[in-house]
Amino acid sequence: MSVRGRFIVKLGTPDELRSFRESIVAQMDPQKLCVRICMTGCRAYGAVRIRDAFLKEIKGRGLEKEVEIRETGCHGFCARAPVITIDPKDIFYQQLTAEDVPEIIDQTLLKGEIIDRLVYADPATGEKFPFNADVPFYKNQTKNVLRNCGVIDPRNISHYIARDGYDALSKVLTTTTPVEVIDTVEQSGLRGRGGAGFPTGRKWRFVRDAHGDPKYLVCNGDEGDPGAFMDRAVMEGDPHSVLEGMLIAAYAMGVEVGYIYVRAEYPIAVEHLKIAIAQAQELGLLGENILGSGFNFEIRVKEGAGAFVCGEETALLASIEGRRGMPRPRPPFPAQSGLWDKPTNINNVETYANVPLIILKGSEWYSSIGTERSKGTKIFSLAGKINNTGLVEVPIGTPVRKVIYDIGGGIPGGRRLKAVQTGGPSGGFVPEEHLDLPIDYDTLQAIGSIMGSGGMVVMDEDTCMVDVARFFLEFTNDESCGKCSICRLGSQQMLDTLTRITQGKGREEDIELLVELGKQVRDISLCGLGRTLPNPVLTSTNFFRDEYEAHIKEKRCPALVCEELVSYYILPEKCEGCMICLRNCPSEAIMGGKRMVHVIDQSKCTKCGTCLSLCPTRFSAVVKVSGEQIPVPEEPIPVAPRKPKTA
């Protein structure tokens, strides 16, 4: 039910919005069969083919009137992609293929039967959960900001409006003064979801009180942390909640032009935002004299070009202005002098998406969620060595352990968790012993990490912490804009030092040097990128110093990750001389012959691991070791004769 073509008249008053909503709701049948397919994240796993199969089958069977195929945003449970939900029963199917579709129609849609094969089973207990509401991954979440994600078609404004969309806007325009809006947001305790956690209401007040005309509003959608996709999910799955948040903010601060800065690497987000803006304009929810209130606001989408640093607000503003994205010193803060030197409010996507809820449900409701100093819910993206990778929303203050185990389902293969990297590449490691800390703005900082914008990468015992620190630093070093010396050069020195350590060339004093440099880069860099990039190094040297020492003193990588420090050996007592590894070694480093014990020539070995992966498990003769030498013969010798079979 598209807007275009059906509603020529703009919504001129709040009443018209209300009756429009009522007419939409009236036309909706809550008992109608509806297949909700995630068409954002699940695309990578073949959601397009599944949707096409549904459309084809439904059409082929003439079921178009009975069944709605709805393309939605992310449902959250990415580990099980592609996923669908079937309404009205709330059936949850996962890891589908297009071939499953005819069966789903026959069995589930037409007969109401559940297909056991497609139901989610807890990997640990084997217990099956056919309904969304029961799945532990969903059950333990509090979906406020994500309430529409995976539920509505983000390209259809009617869906949003039907779920009270733009009611908050209508409410502020009719019943609330701009200052009261700011009061409400301030009382709610909402803090910036980009990671810095500045109180949103207070920022809005600064902008409102700042001298300068015009003022601007900016939405920071330049989500750059590897493994983070919270903002992406909101922009893709519920773009109108961002627009509505911006509208309310604009009304509160007296702004008429807003920008959404979104990475060009998020093409679906860009597309959905543009569609949402066009539809809102068409209905008169953006543009001039919105809902007859006299309030004007327009939103422009500015696509970023993939520089991580453009997530930093002053660099982002420079980029919007068409200049090279490089941060500048603050003060002046954007609230005083931002876009084109005018007072500018800049908030993160998720921050804006919280605003309509606060207005609708009130600041008291909002501040009842969360902790003393951190209110509301926060979205996290779970990635790495965890069973249930995906998008989760929980009240701020939830312990890390609960997110990792109750929602995330723990670590695959029964391995031990080593650390959780929170806050993206500029966050730090939370080691196992601190898993019971609540995730909020302040607590994690005490152990050197940050909640950040919500990235969570889980590491198990197979992870080398030196190597991971080097990996994150490689990213931030590469993404440093180069403007400030300490970030550009300090990160390079730290990266060089870490690289040397992982290569076994570390010196004893390197750990102190890393800590010293890291602290200085943290303390005196110009912008947030530089100030946080040492966190992985600082937390890993703090919590996993033994791993550093093993690399430096023993030339040993305990996790057997650092290539230069590991060697492959063939255990002579286990080798059966089967020739498999010998024939497949790409660098011809294995000596031996049929029924001769194979020996790896260490000078030729490139440590590709082919031998380890090919050695039949019943032999398990190839081993990977670090920091030690295994006695092997210098030349191939005959395999020990098999024990003669006794008669």
Binding site: A307, V309, R324, M326, R328, P329, P331, N477, D478, E479, S480, C481, G482, K483, C484, S485, I486, R488, L489, G490, S491, Q492, Q493, D496, L513, E516, L517, Q520, D523, I524, S525, L526
Partner: protein
């Protein structure tokens, strides 16, 4: 100004409110290490992370470049914490971005070395490992190299190129460790980036450090930038801008920064007098030369003699030369090559306002709300002035360009009127018509300050916008927009150049601009004025000094008996009341045999004038031609006697720039070879010929005589100029000079409107010669001097004919192909450059290349009032070779 009190390292300091701690400290002799701070910058770069200080009451160190001073603030610059932070930053810089001081041209002149010494970091890193970068070195510019491996990314080059130069040719590329500044094709080779680079990343090729420096004035264009010539053992080894000179505030262009030392010391400099013998020259002594010239000139006293004075030489030289012509030779046949460019300005602004000079100082341009730039490309011809216009546009001024060619300023402009060459008058009449019709004229200004307004309106009544569009080729709407913009934004200012004056109706063009300014009341106030852009460094001064056939020094009329009497009394001889011949007329009459002897000083009419074939013929017909110059110019080759002149670097004196600023030129080196200053040579000839009043020992004495006879220069002396230039009129020693003219009344009393009648160019394209040739100066060349500079010749090696792609396609001419450009007067073979900078139907050359002189082609038809030739429009055709 509000000041606050603070203490830095225990020293009580007063600093202006809002000043950053860094500058407050440095101003008081307290050094805080820094590499990226620029005082003039709007916002601090804050990238070097060195200038940390401790401030009491603050939790941690803060950067001094970003922190404003506050009342009662207590600052410590050497706390252990601050020292530790600075040390790390310096160590990192040295370990990575300072490969090796021993091989670096900036060794011992490097800011990073200074920082390292201050914070106590050895240049060989200890704690950190040396990890130099390996980025490609850019040595494409003939004057400087960019070694990104030494770049500390302070951003100063990017800032200066953007905010001061306005070329925006440099920006950072790549990220993080690989980030480096990069040049694009809009680089103008001005070297501002090199001058501001604190380390060895941007350095001059062949960089040499001077042992001493002499402050003087650049000899290229009429902007008159202050420079320091750096000397080592009597040789100029460096040039830098004078930061205290208000004209350029330290900025220089490629010609000024890189084009001086090489021409001054060039092997082609004339070092001894030469006399024509057969087809060649032989060297003679000064005694013989003076004796020869005195003897020969004695035969041509009176109207058979003419003198062409130098727009490149000092005021003192020019004053002596005109005095020589008038007193020794009894002739008013004295003129200069300012005639080729500025004649219409002198006539029209003289008659409209009472003075033919710039009404306002150049400083005013940057605060104008609207700038109308017509018939000039200052980015190329007067780069430092061009930079001011770009800065004004950046500051929000609306820029209106009228030019057939797509000049650099077009990209900064709000409106670009691409009129047909020679149609400026139609455009201006159209604009005035709109202003009057739409009631945008400033009637109260006109009523109070002007006269003859009705004559103007009457003359415009027959000229409508449709006609303006037809004649100029500019759409009516654009003309209307330009008129409304110029009339609607105040203060508005007008700049014009030779594109407006070098026409047979050049004088009308300038009348039209004077009318336009008066019509809107845009004259006589801050940032509202008229800026005639004269060409050469002392074009203004040469005219002021009386190198004009019809006027005595300071534009005093020959016909005024009181005035003539004053000069006769001072000079001790009777003066002819009859106006002499102008430059063009002298050569025309030489062809007829009426002028028989010419004394040409620092001018090259055989290259610079229109239709030089005819000029060369005239010069050959002379009975006696003496040429005094620093090089053997095209004109000097035709001389009977050549006298070697000293260059600007070898003499004392003054230049007067376009904004009427008289500035001291100081001798930096001894004259090259046996060359002598122009004034000295002329004085010796005069004395040899028995004249009195030429016994000067130093140019300052000449200036004293100038001051006694020229009311505008009455208060000027060399001694006074030691403290900086003075803008004339400066009638007495206790007056400060006059930055703005016509403030309360016009110099002539009431401003006079002049009625206008449109006339087309003398020569328009026809079937036989279907294209128009126009002339525009190259950024890299001016006169004979720049051609002696290898690097400038590399940047612009040869004459080109710039041609629109459409015309090129019609002719089947490819880019870089050699073609023949043919006019009714001559043929020049040059390479074609295909560019949309030239509009269809119009081609462009630069007229700066003696080996392929565009002036073989140009039209010598004169503007009747000013006798300035129509150099800007000639009909030509192009043939493939």
């Amino acid at each position: 100004m509000d000041t606050v009190n603070l203490t830095i390292d225990g020293i009580p300091i007063k600093a202006p409110k809002g000043e950053k701690v860094l500058w407050a400290a440095l101003d008081n002799g307290i050094y805080i290490p820094n590499l990226c701070a620029i005082r003039r910058a709007k916002e601090p770069h804050a990238g070097c992370r060195l200038c940390f200080v401790g401030i009491e009451g603050r939790p941690g160190p803060v950067t001094a470049c970003t922190e404003p001073v506050a009342e009662g603030m207590v600052v410590h610059t050497t706390t252990p914490e601050v020292k530790r932070l600075r040390r790390t930053a310096a160590e990192l810089l040295i370990a990575t971005e300072c490969p090796d001081c021993r091989t670096c041209a900036k060794n011992r002149h490097c800011e990073l070395q200074r920082v390292a010494a201050h914070v106590g970091v050895k240049l060989k890193p200890q704690r950190l490992r040396k990890s130099p970068k390996s980025l490609a070195i850019d040595s494409s510019n003939p004057f400087f190299i960019l070694d990104p491996n030494k770049c500390i990314l302070c951003g100063k080059c990017v800032w200066v190129c953007s905010e001061i130069v306005g070329a925006d040719a440099i920006n950072f590329t790549s990220r993080g460790f690989d980030a480096t500044p990069m040049f694009d094709e809009s680089c103008e080779a001005c070297g501002e980036c090199v001058a501001i680079c604190p380390v060895g990343a941007l350095v001059e090729k062949n960089l040499r450090w001077p042992k001493q420096e002499v402050k003087t004035i650049c000899p290229y264009c009429a902007v008159g930038c202050g420079i320091y010539l750096g000397l080592d053992n009597g040789v100029i080894v460096s040039v830098r801008g004078d930061e205290e000179n208000p004209v350029n505030r330290g900025s220089l262009c490629a010609r000024g920064r890189f084009g001086i030392a090489e021409f001054v010391h060039h092997q082609d400099r004339l070092t001894t007098p030469l006399v024509k013998k057969g087809r060649g020259f032989v060297e003679i002594s000064w005694e013989e030369a003076i004796e020869l010239v005195a003897r020969r000139l004695a035969q041509y006293k009176g109207e058979k003699f003419g003198l062409i004075s130098s727009v490149k030489s000092t005021n003192e030289d020019n004053y002596i030369l005109q005095k020589f012509a008038r007193v020794v030779m009894g002739s008013n046949n004295i003129d200069s090559s300012a005639r080729l460019r500025d004649g219409p300005t002198l006539v029209a602004l003289g008659e409209s306002f009472g003075a033919g000079a710039m009404s306002n100082p150049m400083d005013d341009i940057e605060s104008a709300a609207c700038i109308f730039v017509i018939g000039t490309n200052p980015t190329s011809s007067h780069p430092i002035l061009g930079q001011r216009i770009r800065r004004a546009a950046r500051n929000g001024a609306k820029l209106i360009i009228a030019n057939p060619r797509e000049i650099d300023l077009c990209r900064h402009a709000s409106l670009w009127l691409r009129n047909r060459p020679g149609s400026d008058l139609a455009l201006l009449m159209g604009m005035m018509r709109i202003i009057i019709d739409e009631g945008l004229a400033d009637l109260s200004f006109i009523e109070a300050r002007c006269e003859n307004f009705d004559a103007l309106t009457e003359s415009l009544s027959r000229f409508d916008l449709k006609l303006a569009e037809e004649l100029s080729g500019v759409p009516q709407q654009l003309i209307t927009d330009a008129a409304r913009t110029y009339a609607g934004l105040k203060p508005a200012t007008i700049l014009f150049g030779s594109g407006l004056t070098q026409h047979i109706h050049g004088t009308e063009n300038v009348y039209a601009l004077a009318n336009l300014a008066m019509l809107t009341g845009n004259i006589g106030q801050a940032s509202s004025g008229i800026y005639p852009i004269k060409g050469e460094n002392n074009a203004q001064g040469a005219c002021d000094m009386g190198a004009l056939p019809g006027l005595l020094p300071d534009y005093q009329p020959l016909s005024g008996p009181d005035i003539r009497e004053k000069f006769e009394a001072a000079w001790g001889c009777p003066l002819s009341p009859n106006p002499g011949l102008t430059l063009g007329e002298m050569l025309d009459t030489a062809n007829e045999g009426r002028i028989q002897a010419l004394y040409i000083v620092g001018a090259d009419p055989a290259l610079d004038m229109a239709n030089i074939q005819q000029v060369r013929q005239a010069l050959k017909r002379l009975e006696f031609l003496v040429v005094q110059d620093i090089f053997l110019t095209q004109t000097a080759r035709l001389a009977d006697l050549v006298l070697p002149a000293a260059s600007f670097a070898e003499k004392d004196g003054t230049f007067t720039n376009i904004e009427r600023r008289v500035q001291l030129v100081r001798q930096a080196i001894e004259p090259i070879g046996d060359s002598r200053p122009d004034w000295q040579i002329a004085c010796r000839i005069a004395q040899k010929m028995g004249a009195t009043g030429f016994d000067f020992e130093h140019p300052s004495q000449i200036m004293d005589e100038v001051a006694s006879l020229l009311p505008s220069y009455g208060g000027i002396s060399h001694q006074r100029l030691e403290d900086g230039g003075i803008q004339y009129p400066c009638p007495s020693k206790n007056r400060p000079g006059t930055p703005r003219l016509h403030t309360k009344t016009f110099i002539r009393g009431k401003g006079r409107f002049t009625p206008l009648v449109y006339r087309p160019p003398a020569e328009e394209p026809d079937d036989e010669y279907p294209l128009m040739l126009t002339i525009e100066r190259s950024l890299y060349h001016q006169g004979n001097m720049s051609r002696k500079v290898k690097g400038l010749n590399t940047l612009r090696p040869e004459e080109l004919v710039e041609i629109n792609p459409l015309d090129a396609a019609n002719l089947g001419v490819a880019d870089g192909e050699s073609v023949r450009v043919i006019s009714r007067r001559g043929v020049v073979k040059v390479k074609a450059k295909i560019t949309e900078a030239s509009p269809p139907g119009v081609v462009c050359m630069s007229s700066n290349f003696a080996e392929r002189p565009a002036n073989l082609l140009t039209n010598s038809t004169l503007d009747a009032s000013s006798k300035t030739p129509e150099l800007k429009v000639s009909a030509i055709r192009i043939a493939k070779t």
